[in-house]
Symmetry: none
Subunit: 193 residues, 4 copies
DNA sequence: GATGAATGAGTGTTCATTCAT
DNA sequence: GATGAATGAACACTCATTCAT
């Protein structure tokens, strides 16, 4: 149906893969092309520039996260359960597809991450706004702005995942259980009695 | 007094500054030299390589953090107060010297951050180990490993600072009070009654 | 016919030429590119590195010598005649294409000439082994190892060519006839009655 | 007496040493200075430039050869014996002080070896002229110009020494006796009966 | 005389992008 | 649309030489 998109997808995935293993700095267009099985010039049929490719990757990645977490959320459950599901699903996604986390890490601090990009609305951020608002409204969460709850939670997941990925051996050695961060984060956001 | 150290310092600060504004990616040696007011070759009088320069920056930055936080800690105070001091001091340091936070962000995910570097002992990590251990022993903090408490706290400060730096306008607009993250983090780590 | 090989050839010849005039020392890639009429980066389409370029030049040069001398050898002739043909052909080649001799001179004492390179089999060395062996077996040459006869002969040709190239005026002035070296070398290797 | 010459000598020897091990290409002035135990700038008190240093090395080396060979020559001996002494003394000198041979190898093909340098008279070349003239006059050597006899002999010694130095293992393996080159060279220059 | 920090042109090499085919 | 050879500015780093001390 979309034979063109096929090649575009190959390029995006190739870039994703390389960034996972080598970071932005080790991701030349020539390698992206080679891994995707296309010619260097072909990339420019689908993307205006490397910049453009990176942005598409960003939206792609954010969309994967959004779908993964939102689709696995069951609003009929108890909010605390939903929070731990949220945490575990996101955490698991980062574990299963390290390229996503790695990409975000790199993207966020790269010059690609302009104010413009940051200010864009996105289904993922909107969904989170609603999720945390619901938790507040139902009396489970602290009566703060949904945004700050989101910052707290997403910061914890990121922090945990980064640790898990970068210091795995050290963490195992010391017998540190990173899942405890979920409990701690829950304590951070839940309404204290 | 130390005219030699003077030039080395200029180079370090120049690199720091550039990384703050443009990231590692936009920090060629030629620009470091130019901004420091020295010739390109001069850098190599003081640093063996770019690698070497980056490492010195890393140790320099970590040391600043360590000194700033540890020197302002008053062990005679109540532990909760000490925690909020810790949080506020670190937070303030990141606010005053964004290049420090920016540098760490960049360094952590760069190829410079090898396992070797990660495994090095450092006064800052040791100090934190002791700090959180004390909190546990005195019954203020959850009975978890000091390391995981550190991960939780440092993750929150970083997350908050990154938000403050990148989304300042947006945050102000929405009336979000980032200091609430300190309270939330305290709830995350304190022993629940 | 082979438009690709065309450019590679231009680069090889450019390098050859520069080395002839200025030696390895005066042969930067930028100049090779300029003389070949291509951009600096283009060289790396055809050669992995300067190293690689130099090696190709080496094999190229050795092959030219091999072909030139072996193809002009007529095994049906008297061995003494064949020897003088060998000498004259090689000598003439060096005269016509000084870049070949110059290149070898440079290569042999350069860091490129590793043990690995030295130990490689080559048609040229093999052909010489057979040539001198035949001379021994047929009773024309001293009963020594073919290798040492080769060293003697090649050393003489090189020595002569170097002189001819570097001291041409002086030699002409003094009325020195370098061809006498062929006779002398024949006396050096022939079986003495 | 000559405390200044002391430092100059250190520099010359340092350069000699480095060239022996690494060739011209691995002989930066900074290293010469370091090995000589002086500051980089000090070299320029004694030598106008690297060029100048190399030239002095050249004259120094040629003088060593001249003295070594001429002083060990005993004109009262039979000429054939004198020739083999000449050969063996020069060969031994190259073996004992590889830096001399290595330097000449490098110098001869370097851009330093200008026509001007080549045309300079030198005791060494003069001595050789006389040596071979005597051989001719006494009826031992072919009735050719002394110069061409010199070219033949020096070419052989150089060729042999280069082989000995660069292909030592291979030569030993194959059981090649390089001393045979002395005999061969004698046959090359001696008057044939 | 001696020092060694400073210089800056020059080195080999990379890589985002273009364009003739 | 697809190709991949070609480009050339940019990069990290070297080194002969200078000059203030």
């Amino acid at each position: 149906m979309e034979p063109i998109a096929e090649k575009k997808k190959l390029i995006l995935e190739s870039a994703f893969d390389i960034i996972k293993d080598q970071g932005f700095h080790g991701c030349p267009m020539s390698l992206v092309a080679k891994n995707a099985g296309v010619a260097a010039g072909t990339i420019y049929t689908y993307f205006e520039s490397k910049n453009d490719l990176i942005f598409e990757l960003y939206f792609h990645a954010k969309n994967i996260i959004y779908k993964h977490v939102s689709q696995k959320d069951d609003p009929s459950l108890d909010f605390k359960t939903r929070f731990f599901n949220y945490w575990n699903n996101l955490s698991q996604l980062y574990l299963d597809r390290p390229e996503i986390q790695r990409f975000f890490e790199q993207f966020m601090i790269s010059p690609y991450n302009t104010l413009e990009v940051q200010n864009e609305d996105s289904p993922w951020y909107n969904w989170n706004g609603n999720f945390f608002k619901e938790g507040i409204d139902k009396g489970y969460l602290k009566n703060l702005s949904p945004e700050i709850l989101f910052i707290m939670v997403i910061g914890s997941v990121n922090s945990m995942s980064k640790m898990r990925q970068n210091f795995n051996t050290k963490i195992t050695e010391k017998g540190i259980d990173l899942n405890q961060l979920a409990e701690m984060t829950w304590d951070a956001i839940r309404k204290q009695k």
